[in-house]
Amino acid sequence: MLSRVAERIYWLGRYLERAENTARLVNVNTHLMLDLPRRVPLGWYPLIEITGSDEEFQETYSEPTERNVVRFLVAEPKNPASLLSSLQHARENARTIRDVIPREGWERINALCLSAKAELSSGLARSRRYDNLVGVISSTQQITGLLAGTMLHDFGYEFLRIGRNLERADMTTRIVDVRTGNLLNEEPAAEFAPFENIQWMSLLQSLSAYQAYRQQMQVPVRRREVLEFLFKDPQFPRAFLHSVGEVAGSIRNLPRNAVPLESVTALVSRVEKSRVTRLDNAGLHRYVDRLQLALGRLHAQITETYFVMSDLPRAKRAGQRAKRSASRKKAVPRPVASAD
């Protein structure tokens, strides 16, 4: 498998997952709004923070109103991490590697991109938004299933899974971070205490985790158990530990995997040992910070090991260290298919 192709499959996995997560995110806030009484002010800005696109948002919009936030997250072409941008990037990556993706896979990605473009730029009003976004989620799930069921489970497939699971782990930490932080806390806490559980429920729902949580934890929705579940459940596919575990499994199947394998294994055992439920909000925030840094390092190691290669046969690879991504919150959008 070509390094360039592996890299594009990896990004295809990330972008598809990012598109799906963005759709989930917007939908759950839309739903939450219906559950909260009118006097509880529902913030839309946290969604911007979750996706780490504060700067881009402020460049384009003045007010974080529902309409602006939704438009920015879903349809804004200037937002490189918007749902439509993500799909566009996924399509571009898929397009440049059509020779390795099953034909039906490409057709679905292409069709999803076309239909999302047609429906989502206009269908942002609350009445149609929900259905349109559910449509995107189910299409991306279909694509994931189609690729799982038709693509060769070779190195390329491992890169697709690595991309998807890293993005998923990343998004789970982002969602937890923002939701534990500042959704309602600008107002006196006591007044909104009754609605705290609704908020945790919405958090679970944004990850399609509500049902799984009930089955697995068998307790009411409470902060402590929700955190335990979302960070450390080994069986729920969107839990951090599960996602990172999947990444470890994929890397184990790759050649020349010593460096990334060591660090992903370390990350897994660190999360297993962590006592995340005991952390207060500030501590949790710092913990999430460290996890995201670890994900960034893992990404850099994968890039260095598999995507960037030396120029001469038998020559030693230059010991250049991957630059550590300083901007933790940024959902690094990557330009695809450069014009070479």
Partner: protein, 485 residues
């Protein structure tokens, strides 16, 4: 009104499907009956189904465009009425193409070795000396089987008297074959019932034939040589095809930056497992951009050292560098002589009668009849830089007269042919539209010709411009075995 063949006028034309008003040719009879039986709504539905199939299958071609800052992808323009050729007729065309490409390969090989054909006075030396596509770097190289142009796309046209002519031979990086294959896929999706009734020769063998041919060129003997397709990248107008062929062959689609040439003169690709040696490269990059070390140093598309690796016999390149020398429209006029010289046979397929501006007598004729002729530059493709006499203005003719006098070597001229037509769906009825045909010929250890080829059709009334980049469309091409009807 549904399609009524009595209203379909073929006066003064040779139509591929209809002999005279209301009278289909034998091979097309049941197709015409079928189409006549469709209601307006059914026709529209079929057309819409084809368009949807093309969109979801992502069959696109790229058009270079100024305003979008580079290029844009367009859905492939397709007409749902197929073009039909009787197998008996096709067999002769196939023989003619094989003969032609065989002679052309002998010619190229001769040019890079002894140049007997020049010494024997058949082709004038100055044509080669001034050729833009003769590569001195290739002199003395002997590729496997003596074959240089492994993939050739020859354009065929039919005049109003029914004669099939070769219009030109594309020996550099001919494209279009993927659309031939995709057209068939679309037709099968849209008209499955027709494929049950007709005995249509399949086309989908091409990718495996291509792979076999390429594999036969490998310098390393082994079971599965590493074959790759080298593309300039996604902004190339034929990128769709590059990806398609790589996928169909199970070969890696590589860009220049994926490859490197080692100190051992072998070519390697960068893979997740490390460096992997490459045996055969189906390159879809023009000669001059292929290797900055040997040709254009400013090119970012190629692989430094590629020519060196090829000359050392460490890698096979298809088509071989330098094969474009026989792709020249002036050389074209010598092909009948080339066939006689190397094969001692009469050409099976005729050339379109041509005037060589480098010959004084021809030149005078061309200059006096610019309003009736088509003038073509020697080295352009895609319909660029031509003068179509009858549709030209006086100013354009004067401009061309100047160009020809200044550089006669660069021009040849041909009479305007009235290209044959085929029924093409316009709104809800069929109208005749002009078309041509590009079959593909593979040469390696043996020779293979596609069953039919890519039919390109001028969608505008009366136009003979069939290039997709200039608004042309295409049709599925059926070679029909009448014996099997």
């Amino acid at each position: 009104m549904t399609i009524n063949w009595r209203n379909y006028s073929v006066k003064g034309l040779h139509d591929e499907l209809i002999r005279a008003a209301g009278k289909p040719r034998d091979a097309a009879a049941s197709l015409c009956t079928y189409l006549r039986g469709l209601s307006d709504q059914e026709l529209i539905d079929h057309k819409a189904a084809a368009e949807l199939a093309i969109r979801t299958m992502g069959i696109t071609f790229t058009v270079y465009s100024e305003e979008e800052g580079g290029s844009i992808d367009r859905a492939w323009p397709f007409d749902i009425i197929p073009r039909i050729i009787a197998k008996q007729e096709w067999d002769r065309v196939e023989q003619g193409l094989k003969q032609r490409v065989q002679a052309l390969n002998l010619f190229i090989d001769d040019l890079y070795h002894d140049q007997r054909i020049i010494k024997d006075g058949i082709v004038p030396a100055e044509l080669i000396n001034n050729s833009r596509d003769f590569r001195p770097q290739c002199v003395g190289v002997s590729p496997p089987f003596g074959v240089w142009a492994h993939i050739c796309g020859s354009d065929l046209v039919r005049d109003k008297d029914g004669t099939v002519y070769v219009l030109e031979d594309n020996l550099r990086v001919p494209s279009g074959v993927s659309y031939m294959l995709e057209n068939r896929q679309v037709m099968k999706r849209v008209f499955p019932e027709l494929f049950e009734d007709y005995s249509i020769e399949p086309v989908d063998d091409y990718p495996s034939q291509l792979y076999e041919m390429l594999a036969s060129l490998s310098p390393r003997k082994g079971d599965r040589p590493e074959v790759v397709v080298l593309t300039p990248g996604i902004y190339n107008s034929a990128y769709f095809e590059h990806a398609y062929l790589a996928q169909q062959m199970g070969a890696e689609l590589v860009e220049g930056s994926d490859l490197l040439v080692g100190d051992d003169h072998c070519v390697y690709m960068r893979s997740v497992e490390g460096l992997v040696r490459v045996d055969v490269i189906y390159r879809r990059i023009d000669d001059l951009f292929m290797d900055p070390e040997a040709f254009r140093p400013d090119s970012m598309l190629g692989v430094p050292g590629l020519l060196r690796a090829w000359k050392k016999g460490k890698v096979a390149l298809a088509n071989a560098p330098g094969s474009g020398v026989a792709d020249d429209k002036v050389i074209y006029t010598y092909v009948p002589e080339i066939i006689r010289y190397y094969l001692d046979q009469d050409p099976i397929l005729p050339n379109v009668p041509s005037y060589l501006c480098v010959n004084k007598q021809d030149r005078d004729h061309v200059l006096a009849h610019l309003d009736k002729l088509v003038v073509k530059p020697a080295n352009e493709s895609g319909g660029y830089g031509m003068l179509v006499g009858p549709q030209s203005t006086r100013a354009e003719r004067e401009e061309f007269a100047k160009l020809i006098k200044k550089n006669p070597r660069n021009y040849m001229a041909q009479p305007m042919l009235t290209l044959s037509t085929a029924p093409t769906l316009v709104d809800d009825h069929a109208e005749p539209r002009h078309l041509d045909l590009r079959p593909f010929i593979l040469s390696g250890k043996s020779t293979y010709v596609t069953t039919g080829g890519l039919t390109r059709v001028a969608l505008r009334k009366g136009s003979t411009v069939v290039n997709s980049s200039q608004g042309g469309g295409s049709k599925d091409t059926w070679i029909v075995d009448e014996a099997g009807l």
